[in-house]
Assembly symmetry: C4
Homo-oligomer: 265 residues x 4
């Protein structure tokens, strides 16, 4: 991508995805605990509502992945589906093609989620497996993406790999431990971390204010590593706040009907 | 092997093995779900049919492994069981010996599968453990196979290691999660990926059209990495199509007798 | 930190934490086995006592983490919350900031433990997940901390990483295997190892006796590696002795009432 | 050790340990399956017999570990418990000390096995955990043992690490999957592999026939890698033969009383 926008755009997508997941799983966990307590909860927790949310999520993922693939191909300086420049004998805009490939796998994950939640043809866990594969491929392509860049540039992208491969591992664990809320919230946190880190990369490498970072200063690398940890704190806090808000608001909604105390786990 | 044929041959074997596995596990999953529904399904799902299929698979694996070992030894320029050339004091055609060793482990896996499914002497999971060991040894030998080659040559073989070690890991997981259809289909996909990637290696390094790739161009490496992801998409699609076809055709066969709706998982 | 005190202080904290954990889990395991045997045991094993201990542990962790963060910022040559020195255009005392970040994560783990054990808002396993994240971040920051130091300096810190990442892994496993005494005692042992190793690092790099180690002697590295194993033996022995003492003293206390023989597992 | 004997001795120990384990676990599995069938089987399968075997195994391990530690210290050119040579200011015979440390951990594992199987003080799985730690420490010490040696020397020891860390991992898995015969036989196979590989290292580096290997020839490295795989085949075959013999002889013994057909798993 090589521009501020090129990092801010996927960053925003991942931020929204992370917030959405944090909200969705908090809501489900809250309704699951209070299942026996009233009509609001029952309605929210019903399987058909859950299924509808999953279908919406899958459709949106699929839609934006297709849009992303088309955008990468047909923007001003995109390859327009040309892969090889025969006149000059070199590959044509491989970066755009790589980003299209990443979008393709997220699109597949979205499509698989759609299929799994609208039909009974395949086991449910398939959506997590495809998600794990999509994150793995994202990390895999980034891994071989960094040859010959400056030290700081390589470092900020390597840090990104920690959360990308972390998400792949968590999603793969969810194939075997489906419905484990801790894994789901951890995935949400790592996705928010990935999103906010894309923004950070944009600010560090293509600062809109024009200030340039010394790419070879070791102190910059140490600061960036620490900064990554702060982003993680920040994402954990956001998920916690969202979780508490949802638990609390649901509790207030239902208390109106009758006295209620949260039941112990 | 160092020739186009030498990569196309194992590639074809792995392609066929992957397709066979995808078909076999789809069929079992389909019959398992519809067990209570009719004679066709019952007959297909019966344990004796399954056992017979496993025995056939084991025998074929064993047969082709033995053929492969003999072929590696007795082809025109093979070592004919000579390991050390005493006249010139060097090892004799180590590549052929290494390939024989790989075949040997797949042969052991086939033999173990035969034993496990024809007698009651050993626990069932032993066939997956031997398969995991066979894939691990394949990756292990490739790992120390690449010393002193050109950059692109090393890279395409390193990419191969991802799917080989992936298959070893998935097979080892199956020792503990036997019958998990997702792992079985993932193994089938990775095997197809391995097969088609062997063909790709043949085309890149020993192109039959005579065109040569620049082995030191970084763009070629980036393209190859991306190409590997496309092979994965391709193998996932093949497995999906196969799976849907089998589910569908079984459904059509059985619907002739009475109305049928796929049961929810 | 770069001083003897700077390594002895966290070392002491980890030593105390390890001893505390070894004692706590031994006590729980002992009372769990003898649950049916008398009032002492019943009282110790009661859930409210356990909860109170956990709350105390969480509070103490949180308190010392906050104190640590403040100390790192406001000691004589601390950064006093200044992150960037605008006059000289460089980052200000990044080491202190890194240590503050480590304390921050342990503080979060303590706070999460408090929340989990005082309210019913979140699943119990969250305290182990936050502990795993805290240890992971500690190791992660150390990993990128070592650029450009002398060989022996790098080596003693790399050895530290083995037990830090080990603790992260064990804590993460406890999310799925909560209450497995072996994992809990292993975590206690690794924490004692970490604590005593911090002391060892202090003695090697900033010896209070003034003797200096040759940082480039390969024999020193081999000795240090072996020394690390002896620390592990030492920590395993401490945990064993503590465990046996507690089992024994509890047995003596309860035998006063009536004849007792430890029940088989 | 640096001599042929120094590699043949531990090699023989590991070979015997591997054979013992293969025999022990085969016997238990065989008796477990035929439990209901006769007095011979019942007697062999009884818990007290098993416990007695474990106690013997633990005692023997402990005894030979102590002998090994003493031998390393008090052989002709041993350090005799001197760690530092003050006259010449260097560490004294670190290799002997390292080997003593390895024996120490195996001694601990033996002692722990004794404690676990003679008293009820600790959970059973502790013996596997200590075994995993002992193998891990063996690999850990080898890992930092190889600095500055010739290429082939490093390579043969690196290959050793695969089976040592493999055994550590398998033992750790057994903490959670105790009694899984596949893991137990895999551990036996890897131990035999380790034993026979020690002999191979002795023949390659300190050949008793006086022939020297070219330590820098890449073909030698490729042959050695392949040779390692053959050792694995060899150890798998030995374990299989042992297993079949035991199953068969037990079947013959019991058939004398009444007609018998092995029961399906």
């Amino acid at each position: 991508m090589g521009s501020f926008k090129g990092h801010a755009l996927p960053g925003s997508f991942f931020l929204i995805a992370g917030l959405w997941w944090a909200g969705k799983y908090s809501l489900w966990y809250a309704t699951l605990r209070n299942k026996s307590l009233g009509s609001t909860s029952t309605r929210l927790a019903s399987r058909s509502t859950q299924r509808r949310l999953e279908v919406i999520e899958g459709s949106v993922t699929l839609f934006f992945s297709v849009v992303g693939m088309l955008a990468e191909q047909f923007v001003a300086d995109g390859p327009r589906l040309h892969l090889y420049d025969y006149s000059e004998h070199h590959w044509d805009r491989l970066h755009n093609w790589q980003h299209s490939t990443m979008y393709l796998f997220f699109g597949l994950a979205g499509a698989m989620s759609l299929i799994v939640h609208t039909t009974d043809a395949a086991p449910l866990a398939l959506d997590r497996l495809m998600l794990a594969i999509a994150f793995f491929i994202e990390g895999f392509l980034f891994l071989y993406h960094l040859h010959g860049r400056a030290m700081l540039d390589v470092h900020v992208h390597q840090l990104l790999l920690f959360c990308v491969f972390g998400e792949a591992m968590v999603s793969f664990l969810e194939v075997f431990h489906r419905g484990n809320m801790l894994l789901e919230l951890l995935r949400a946190s790592l996705t928010i971390l990935q999103g906010s880190w894309f923004w950070q990369i944009g600010f560090v490498l293509y600062s809109p204010s024009g200030a340039e970072w010394d790419q070879k200063d070791h102190n910059n690398m140490m600061f960036i590593t620490m900064c990554y940890c702060w982003h993680l704190v920040f994402s954990l806090l956001i998920v916690s706040v969202l979780y508490c808000t949802i638990i609390w608001s649901l509790w207030c909604t239902m208390r109106q009907g009758y006295p209620y105390r949260p039941s112990p786990l």
